[in-house]
Every structure is written in C-alpha cells, then in structure tokens.
C-alpha cells in the first residue's frame, strides 16, 4: 500500500465498510493526530514559564478569551471522544468482549453526549464578553 495515499486509502476503507467500528477507528486517528498537534502548541504556550512570570501571564492571557473558550469545547470533544473510545477498545479487548463492541459504543456515545453537555454549560460563561481581562 502506497504511503503517499494514506489519507485517500483511509477514506476508501471507510467508504467500503460503513460500520461503527470503522468510523470510530477513523475518528480515533483524526482526534489522535489533532491532540498531538494540540500537545505541541500547549507545550509552546506553557513553556513561556521558563522565561518568567510576566512572559507566562502574557501568553496565558492571550489564550484565555471567548474565542479560545469556543475552541476549547472542540478540544474537549476531541479529548473525550479519544478517551472514551480508547477505554471501549481496551475494555472490550482485555475483557474478551469484542463481540459486544457495538453495545459498548452506545454506552460511549451516551457518556460522550453527557460530558459535552456539561462542558458546554461550563464553557458558556467564558464565551461571553468580560472573560478576557487583558495581558
């Protein structure tokens, strides 16, 4: 399989097998890649602490605004999809319950929706003006 066509191949595979396992597999990879990119950005922002308090507060002030509060919802969605799907894979695999993976997916889906509703409720105050206090 050509390495250059990895994205195309992933799409072809998903298109051929439109089932829960395949779609969650694709999302697990997409969220995984996204979270790695986030981890590098997160390290960059926080590493300003090495230059001292003023530098840290400047960069931390920049990333705490209504706009970033909206992006945070997307981040937390990525984290909890990856977390819950990973937990499902691990539980099904180690407990020998792979035949029930679809039932576990619906448990995962319910937990995900519940966590995201809670997240949005907790993030709404930060999305309103007045959250950003300046650098």
């Amino acid at each position: 399989m050509s390495f250059n066509n990895m994205f195309k191949n992933a799409m072809v595979d998903t298109n051929r097998n439109k089932n829960i396992g395949m779609i969650t597999y694709l999302f697990h990879r997409i969220t995984g890649i996204g979270l790695v990119i986030y981890l590098i950005m997160h390290t960059y922002v926080l590493s300003s602490a090495i230059s001292g308090e003023k530098s840290f507060n400047g960069r931390m002030g920049f990333v705490q605004s209504p706009f970033f509060a909206i992006l945070e919802v997307l981040l937390i969605a990525g984290v909890f999809f990856h977390l819950l799907n990973g937990a499902r894979i691990t539980i099904c695999d180690f407990a020998g319950l792979t035949k029930s993976h679809k039932a576990f997916f619906w448990i995962e889906a319910i937990l995900f929706v519940a966590i995201m509703i809670l997240t949005i409720i907790l993030q709404i105050p930060k999305m309103q003006s007045g959250y950003y206090t300046g650098m």
Binding site: G32, I40, Q123, P125
Partner: protein
C-alpha cells in the same frame, strides 16, 4: 529478525494501552482542575504556582503526566505510519525525528514545570 520486530511492536502496542489507561485518569483531573474549576477566573502564574508548590502530589502528578502524554502521542503517530508499511529508510528517519521531538517535549515540559513549582 522478523520475530524481534514483532516483539517490539507488541511491546509498544502494550505500552500504548498502558499509558492510555493512565492518561484517561490523568485527563479527567487535569481538565476538571484547569478548564472547569476556575470558572471565569483567569489562570495565571500565581495561581498555578500556588497549586503546584503546595503539594508534592501535584508535582509527581505533572512530572508523570508529561512523559506519559508525549509517549502516547508520538507512539500513536508512529503506529499510524507503521500501518502504511513505510520503507526502511523512512522508518528509521521518522523514528529518529520522533525521538528528537519526544525528548525536546519532555525536557521543555519538565523545565516548564520546575519553573512553576
């Protein structure tokens, strides 16, 4: 030779699961404390310093969190690449790149934490 490669893949597969289980517990606490618990209060140096300097548990927690995160992230990307059977040259090249990125992230992460302690 083939057996050696498969054993290594099995080990990294297992370590991916192992670090994943750890991260699941770490992340519940991390997200609750840093994204939800403060409401609209701005998170700044003083606040993070107060939390991290107050307890040895937070220090150990974050010093473990960083390498687990970096390992899980880069090993995950490596697993995706390995799925597409990269050539020997690319495989070695990407492993070197991942080790360099990983070590930089862990060192920078640890330096960041010790500055906040």
């Amino acid at each position: 030779m083939a057996e050696k490669v498969s054993n290594q893949s099995l080990l990294t597969w297992f370590l991916q699961r192992f670090s994943g289980i750890f991260l699941a517990f770490f992340l519940f606490t991390h997200i609750n404390v840093n994204h939800f618990a403060h409401g609209k209060d701005l998170i700044d140096f003083a606040l993070v310093h107060q939390r991290l300097s107050g307890s040895i548990y937070w220090k150990v927690y974050y010093l473990l969190f960083v390498p687990f995160c970096v390992f899980h992230a880069l090993n995950g990307i490596w697993a995706i690449l390995a799925d597409y059977r990269p050539s020997g040259g690319f495989s070695i090249f990407s492993k070197v790149i991942f080790w360099v990125i990983g070590l930089i992230l862990i060192v920078v992460g640890a330096m960041t934490l010790t500055n906040l302690f």
